[in-house]
């Protein structure tokens, strides 16, 4: 079987505007978008630029817009898309560096803004800090986030407001706020209560739909809003 990958190309050194280029590839059962891209670069056009690393949906490098929906190239099988022509574009809301490669720097800067690390203020012995299964269950979904950026790329708020933290960063804040071992809830809630934080979310669930790991960032955003509200009023 054949399929056409319609890829949005852009080389800042050569092109003034992005353009689409079609590549016909061989598809078998189980062929993923990433397999297709590797085929294109290996056999048809060596100049195509895209990121990839693990090929098993755990590194988050190959996220892109697939038929206008953000997702992982290595996790999306071509046959499942049921379309002859598949459009591939760089993630929306990010600066394009070349072809399908985008600048993830602002994304990670926002992640750093929510203090994505454990803060333990009370002195402990040199033993581990235990956590019950119930306590762990609260964060078991959030810790599966692979930081691929698909959620933020599918969020209109993220496209339009360069300061908006975005679902991924807020989910990370949530992951530490609900962690029984963490002791910086107040600081983190202060950060996400910024006008460009949780209250900017329009609750349209695009991030939930986009997440390849089936995480629900909107729920995390709502939970943090509730926490701020109950602390304030």
């Amino acid at each position: 079987m054949k399929a056409i990958l319609r890829i949005k190309r852009f080389d800042p050194e050569k092109d003034r505007k992005a353009y689409n280029q079609d590549y016909e590839i061989d598809v078998q059962e189980g062929t993923t978008i990433l397999d297709g891209l590797i085929q294109v670069r290996g056999e048809l056009d060596g100049t195509l630029a895209f990121r990839r690393s693990c090929r098993s949906a755990i590194c988050g490098s190959c996220s892109m817009m697939i038929n206008r929906m953000a997702g992982l190239a290595c996790y999306t099988q071509i046959q499942e898309l049921r379309s002859k022509v598949i459009t591939l574009e760089p993630l929306r809301g990010y600066q394009v560096i070349r072809d399908l490669v985008v600048d993830m720097e602002p994304f990670f800067a926002k992640l750093k803004a929510v203090m994505p690390y454990m803060v333990h203020k009370t002195p402990t012995s040199d033993r581990e800090v235990p956590q019950s299964q119930e306590e762990h269950r609260l964060l078991s979904e959030a810790i599966t986030c692979i930081l691929c950026g698909s959620c933020s790329a599918s969020c209109p708020r993220y496209w339009h407001d360069e300061n908006y933290l975005g679902p991924a960063a807020i989910l990370k804040a949530y992951r530490f706020v609900v962690d029984s071992r963490d002791e910086a809830e107040e600081e983190r809630l202060a950060i996400v209560n910024d006008p460009s934080g949780v209250f900017r979310c329009r609750k349209i669930f695009n991030c939930v739909e986009a997440c390849p790991k089936k995480i629900n960032p909107t729920e995390a955003i709502t939970a943090l809003s509730r926490k701020i509200l109950s602390n304030k009023f």
Partner: protein, 118 residues
């Protein structure tokens, strides 16, 4: 990089928008009940309405209605507009315009409501 902080916390505006929305609905219901069912029904006249509006309690209620309605409406417009406006100068322009509009509405409205005599 934007500095994320509590200082101008988004929670207040968000909460006020919900609160005023709820109160506006409640006040509207009271208004409808009083004006159209208990006061005059179908035979509503200027005298009846003017008598009600001239009492201090109704002046307070109507002023509240005006302040909350202005806030809720203009803040709602800004919330929607801010989804689409990227440029800083345009943001400042729109916010200033909305604030001016709010000022005009409140001044005109309060000047009508408060000194009203039968």
């Amino acid at each position: 990089m934007h500095k994320y902080s509590y200082k101008n916390g988004g929670v207040y505006v968000w909460f006020l928008q919900r609160l005023t929305g709820f109160l506006l609905l409640a006040l509207l219901l009271v208004h409808m009940l009083v004006e159209h069912f208990t006061l005059g029904g179908h035979e509503l006249s200027y005298e009846l309405v003017a008598k009600r509006v001239a009492t201090p309690l109704w002046k307070i209620i109507d002023s509240l209605f005006l302040v909350m309605g202005t806030f809720h409406g203009l803040n709602g417009v800004w919330m929607i507009a801010s989804d689409y406006i990227k440029k800083d100068w345009l943001k400042v322009t729109v916010v200033s315009a909305l604030l001016c509009l709010g000022g005009v509405i409140l001044t005109l409205g309060l000047l009508t409501v408060i000194p009203f005599k039968m």
